[in-house]
């Protein structure tokens, strides 16, 4: 799973039946500090995320499996809203340096 920020909503009235009760959001993948990483992607929203919120998402088969009906074409799904990231200081290369 990776971090992202919700940057928009992709409105689709015509879509596959399995997504009928789900919104598709536009998310910008980020690193753990929030800096953008790569291009925006469309993800199925499973946690009622709002624009601007920091979320995390899963890619691949697990994204489709995250929906109640796993038979759907999702390859990205938002599975959590970030409250806080408690980073322990990076101690740098260990004795193996």
């Amino acid at each position: 799973m990776h971090f992202a920020r919700v940057v928009g909503t992709v409105v689709c009235t015509v879509k596959v039946p399995a997504w009928r009760s789900h919104r598709t959001l536009l998310i910008q993948p980020t690193d753990s500090q929030g800096a953008p990483h790569g291009r925006t992607i469309v993800a199925v929203d499973l946690v009622s995320a709002a624009p601007g919120q920091r979320v995390f998402y899963v890619r691949g088969r697990e994204a489709a499996n995250a929906l109640p009906d796993p038979d759907n074409p999702a390859d990205a799904a938002i599975v959590g809203i970030v409250d806080e990231v408690r980073e322990s200081p990076w101690t740098g290369p260990g004795d193996r340096g």
Binding site: M1, H2, F3, D31, S32, H37, L46, V47, S48, F56, V58, R59, G60, R61, E62, A63, N65, A66, P70, A77, V79, G80, I81, V82, D83, E84, V85, R86, E87, S88, W90, T91, P93, G94, R96, G97
Partner: protein, 94 residues
């Protein structure tokens, strides 16, 4: 699977049901020489790894399903081992 350092924990009260009951660890992939390589990921802890631990991370749905002892689901990235030591045999490029 890849080797990573646990560099933090992600707190999220609103999350997918399958993530409940497990800590979400921030893992930084590292080379065998313990140098960061690539983007940190969020992994479900299944071995009680702590901050700073060197760990093995499995990043595949079937592996996660087996470790969590349930059918294929929403989880794919799981911490599956705490590394005591990496004994490199050949002095290849780290």
């Amino acid at each position: 699977m890849f080797v990573a350092r646990v560099v933090g924990e992600v707190v999220a009260t609103i999350k997918h049901a399958e993530l409940a009951g497990h800590k979400l660890l921030l893992v930084q992939p590292v080379t065998p020489r313990d140098r960061p390589t690539g983007r940190p990921a969020i992994a479900l802890d299944t071995v009680d790894a702590g901050p700073g631990d060197l760990v093995i991370v499995a990043d595949e749905g079937n592996a996660a399903a087996q470790v969590l002892r349930r059918g294929r689901g929403a989880v794919r990235t799981v911490v599956v081992g705490v590394v005591d030591e990496i004994a490199e045999e050949s002095r290849g490029r780290g």
